[in-house]
């Protein structure tokens, strides 16, 4: 999966010296685990580089202030040397150094033309034209830049068979762009955790978790959890499984579901094969919450999604190993 990164999710107030920011590093680790590629639209990268330069300049000023202060008190510390040893952080290199594949995507002429048209005609995802009584000064001044990033993200999603736009910007994450995003296979996440969860839902482990959830869906609704009637899982995180000689016997994962009102329900699912009937599974939902509201724990029983294999295959592989050891 390709993740198109907007600058706002990498906005930071901390100067990055030798170590990458902790939350950036854990995001990079999560992306690496699912084989995701990061793509920085050049437009977005200009903003990221601008912020990194601001932080660098601030750090240099601080060092200079420190030098002046220490000089005033006759300190012999060589503070100037420290300033020579810091540099503007290279964000692309920082993510590459984590073992991630990183691309910088230049907008094409068509991307610019597309963004220009959207901005001028107030086409989605840009906000509709305001009434004549409102001054045009009230409009956001950076909407053209956002629209270029949107055009690049949609193009990449079409070219690569899907992508995920990671952005907090209202133009990128709002309702106005939903239809087009769905049509071109562009998923949208507004923070690192949501992005990793959405990537998790697309992995092999996430797909397996969704198979279990799909089978249990109606039972969960029947137990009083207000899930949407149509099965749709937004995020899957930390899925793990344990198998018996014939089937998956334990599955645990955290999942998120977008509710009809747009809020996100998250819960920890623990699924275990029934002790008495191996076709059945018991699902316990714990730590279920919608925003800060905590829901009651729920337990349901459902029929498993995958038919158990016979024991023959496992026994044959075990015999083959025992023949050697």
């Amino acid at each position: 999966m390709l993740i198109v990164v907007n600058s706002d999710v990498l906005y930071t107030n901390a100067f990055m010296h030798t170590e990458m920011h902790k939350n950036w590093r854990s995001f990079a680790e999560g992306c690496k685990n699912v084989g995701a590629t990061l793509a920085f639209p050049r437009t977005s990268l200009y903003e990221i580089e601008l912020r990194q330069k601001e932080l660098y300049d601030l750090e240099i000023r601080r060092i200079d202030d420190a030098r002046k202060l220490l000089t005033r008190y006759d300190s012999t510390l060589k503070v100037r040397q420290a300033a020579d040893q810091i540099k503007v952080a290279d964000v692309v290199h920082a993510f590459s150094a984590q073992g991630l594949h990183v691309e910088v995507e230049l907008p094409t002429l068509d991307d610019f033309r597309d963004a220009e048209m959207r901005a001028a005609k107030h086409l989605p995802p840009s906000p509709p034209r305001k009434s004549s009584s409102q001054s045009s000064d009230e409009e956001q001044s950076d909407e053209m830049r956002d629209l270029v990033i949107w055009s690049v993200a949609c193009r990449l999603a079409r070219e690569r068979g899907g992508a995920l736009l990671l952005s907090r910007d209202v133009v990128h994450s709002g309702k106005l762009g939903r239809e087009e995003a769905e049509a071109c296979g562009l998923l949208r996440a507004s923070d690192f955790d949501e992005a990793l969860g959405m990537l998790g839902a697309e992995t092999a482990a996430g797909q397996l978790a969704k198979l279990f959830l799909a089978k249990a869906w109606d039972k969960i609704i029947g137990a009083g959890v207000a899930l949407p009637k149509v099965f749709a899982v937004h995020t899957i995180a930390d899925p793990t499984y344990i198998r018996s000689t014939t089937a998956i016997k334990v599955a645990t994962f955290r999942f998120g579901v977008k509710l009809d009102d747009g809020k996100l329900l998250t819960a920890q699912a623990s699924i275990a094969q029934n002790d008495y009937d191996e076709r059945l599974y018991d699902l316990a939902l714990a730590d279920a919450r919608i925003a800060k509201a905590i829901l009651k724990d729920v337990t349901v029983q459902f029929e498993g999604p995958i038919e158990a294999k016979t024991n023959d295959d496992y026994a044959e592989r075990l015999r083959a190993l025992r023949g050697i050891v």
Binding site: N33, A204, S244, R317, L321
Partner: protein
Amino acid sequence: MNLRMGGQYFSDVDIPLLWGTRAVVSDKADRLSIINLEGSEAKLEILGDQPAADIEFRPLSGGAVEILDNHVPLYTFDASSKTLRGVKLKLPECIIDASGIRIGTNYFSNNTVVGFGVGLVVSEHGMGMGAPLPPNLARLRV
């Protein structure tokens, strides 16, 4: 045991390949099994290219699996490329193909190892061919 694995011939060895504390063994159909020898009893983690019963795992894209311990990823195993890659286990990557065994940047091919506890031993600090059985490992038994 006597077996051919990854282009080597191991004769009269207890463990052909020891990757950290994991014994790696190939069966006659060239399927790999990985057995954890930490502790007092051997524990089968991969059986014939697939996660063994009662082992915590996570399927990865492309057919590989990750083996975990209490939700902590230990290593990944890709059956199609016969590749072991450490996650928490800080061990060099190990690839066992038909003609050789690649450990980190080293490639072993067409060797015969006779009469050692371990044919090829891999640790965090290095690797060697023909070594005694390290102490405190469980007996290889499945």
